[in-house]
């Protein structure tokens, strides 16, 4: 890359190889390095060509959208930055295993003196990847088979199929995802699935077979999702001792709903964030596109984090939701909200707050929950800089309420109902962060405000999950 110019080259002395006599009319050959030092940031460059090595089935047009910015770079640092961003965008498409960037001066006839060539060397993912695991847990063993077709037609479409065959239940899911070329944030996906769930707190077993399509698109700083979902739900009792209110809900129903969700997320991480805020608002309207379940459901989640002295973070979060059945049919147990447990109001058993019948929790049509947390590093900071950073101690105060509303009364009566008999709890514990997705908690809780019928878990409570209050 660099050139070495010999500035002056005096002819060698004619005397033979007689180097014994030094200092005698000999002149040394001088080889000097390039003396002009250029400050690279200020040098104007022009990106003349962008090459791609290793494209197979990927179509050209989606690549061009992702790298179009590289051509706009004006100086060398800019080229490096834009190439890095283009590399990130190419990796985000999920169709390449590896992307390497090479920046070089332009060679060839039409090369400008400040022209640069950028080369992206990519390795595409294989056409089909699969995985096979067995899972054991909850008195059930199952085989899980997963298949993935990344980049099916060349424009980053992705088809995934997952099938789980277990001793008690089988479930499957097939999903097709297509991003819009040039704008990965806008995408749509179609899913077909069957999932089964067992809810021992309500003695309920639910099997859902459904189809859903969703569109994601960003609007300014927010992310919106529009989704239509059609689900055939089959509810059954988990045990012969299920209460009659749960037994009454058994049977089949069809839910066809449109939902819209908006997310604004400015946190630096979704697990144990240090700063930023999250606002999620979700609406669902069921019944106007078919089906026999009809309701309007609103749900919101808000979280605010702020860093304090000495690496501690204070975090507040508020959740709330309301379900309004439309028409004269009462709401179904599968649509109602549940509250309580290690991931929501700590100190109470899983989903064991609110209306219940003979020990089975029926859920409620309106709820709110709030929490204030203080996260600090472990005392005496063991393992600092490594493993110890995954742990945090945390002190919390949680509160919430869940009830059914009589929609004949006015909003004032509703607020009053939600404000009386509040369940709350406080305590402390340790949080372990698992990657960027999940966290484990071990807390010592003191539940308060316990109403008749709630099941509590005072003392040590363990929780694992993705979404915590």
């Amino acid at each position: 890359m660099g050139t070495v110019h010999a500035r002056s080259l005096e002819p060698l002395p004619m005397a033979g190889p007689d180097f014994g006599a030094l200092g005698e009319e000999t002149e040394l050959v001088e080889v000097e390095p390039e003396t002009k030092q250029e400050i690279l940031e200020n040098k104007d460059v022009v990106v003349q060509h962008v090459h791609f090595d290793g494209l197979g089935r990927t179509k050209d047009d989606i690549i061009m959208y992702e790298i179009s910015d590289v051509f706009k770079a004006k100086n060398l640092i800019d080229v490096m930055r834009k190439s890095h961003e283009a590399r990130e965008r190419l990796l985000r498409l999920g169709i390449f295993r590896q992307v390497d960037v090479l920046i070089d001066t332009c060679q060839g006839d039409d090369a400008l003196p400040n022209g640069l060539d950028v080369t992206f060397e990519v390795t595409e993912l294989r056409r089909l990847t699969g995985s096979y695991n067995t899972m054991v847990g909850n008195n059930e063993g199952s085989m899980v088979l997963g298949l993935k077709f990344p980049n099916l037609f060349g424009r980053a479409e992705k088809v995934t199929f997952q099938f789980s065959y277990g001793t008690k239940e089988t479930s499957y899911g097939l999903s097709f995802f297509k991003p819009r070329p040039g704008n990965f944030e806008r995408n749509f996906s179609v899913n077909v699935y069957k999932v089964t769930g067992q809810f021992p707190w309500s003695s309920l077993r639910e099997t859902d077979r459904g189809v859903s399509t969703e569109f994601n698109f960003p609007v300014w700083k927010t992310n919106h999702t529009l989704k239509w979902e059609g689900v055939w739900r089959e509810l059954g009792c988990l045990a012969r001792t299920a209460s009659f209110s749960v037994r009454e809900e058994s049977g089949h129903s069809l839910k066809s709903s449109l939902s819209h969700a908006m997310v604004i997320d400015s946190r630096n991480s979704s697990i144990l964030p240090k700063r930023g805020a999250l606002l999620k608002i979700n609406q669902e309207l069921a019944g106007y596109t078919g089906g026999d379940v009809s309701f309007l459901k609103e749900d919101f989640e808000f979280q605010l984090n702020k860093q304090l002295l000495w690496d501690s973070v204070i975090s507040t979060s508020v959740w709330g939701g309301m379900l309004v059945p439309i028409g004269d049919k009462p709401s179904s147990i599968a649509d109602r909200f549940y509250l309580g447990g290690p991931t929501s109001v700590r100190g109470f058993s899983m989903y064991s707050i609110g209306p219940q019948s003979e020990g089975d929790y029926l859920g409620g049509e309106a709820y709110w929950a709030g929490g204030v947390h203080l996260y600090t590093p472990l005392p005496f900071r063991p393992g600092r800089g490594g493993f110890g950073d995954l742990f945090r101690t945390h002190f919390f105060l949680n509160a919430g309420n869940l009830c059914n509303l009589n929609y004949g009364d006015g909003p004032r009566a509703h607020l009053q109902r939600l404000a009386e008999c509040i369940r709350w709890s406080y305590g402390a514990g340790i949080v372990l962060r698992l990657g960027n997705i999940a966290r484990l908690e071990l807390n010592y809780c003191f539940p308060m405000g316990v109403q008749a019928g709630d099941r509590i878990c005072d003392g040590v409570q363990f929780g694992a999950g993705i979404r915590f209050l």
Binding site: W232, S243, E248, S250, H252, D292, E358
Partner: protein, 227 residues
Amino acid sequence: MCNLPIRVICRANAEYMSPSGKVPFIHVGNQVVSELGPIVQFVKAKGHSLSDGLDEVQKAEMKAYMELVNNMLLTAELYLQWCDDVTVEEITHPRYGSPYPWPLNRILSYQKQWEVRRKMKAIGWAGKTLEQVLEDVDQCCQALSQRLGTQPYFFNKQPTELDALVFGHLFTILTTQLITDELSEKVKNYSNLTAFCRRIEQQYFEGHDKDSCTVSVQSSKKSSLLK
């Protein structure tokens, strides 16, 4: 017939509410008991029974006749509803799927049809034609008619579980509208059976000012025998 206070409620998901998957079932206190046999035993454990007055031989005979009714009449009813193509298309599918929206009504009735046909194949009725089934019904009715004779009930003057079961089936056969009336004609051939049904209807249902929503397998058209 035991004079116990009951309330009959018709629900679309009754079949799924039942712990064993079959109707009828009763909900007493916080206990749920389904199917005739267990219900009879449950009621007996509480001290009410219709067959206390029978001796051992008669009880065995009653059990035998109840088995006959279950094997013959019940299976014939299921056959006619689910295996006879014309009836299935015109009557059974719309009726079974009526509480559900499309496409669930189609899916559920096809699922039930497949299940019933599989059961028919297992007991060997899949190969029978409609005529053979009607023949079997005729023979069953003949046996019942002979046993009934001129008595008001099957065993002396008091109704027993057998009377309740036979009434339930015959009343349904006589009052459900199907494509053809062949099945109900077979029963009407035996006048003492129709008289028996009428007598029980008058005594226990119209006498108590109830509507004739009988506790039967499918919700049937409400109509009286006295036409």
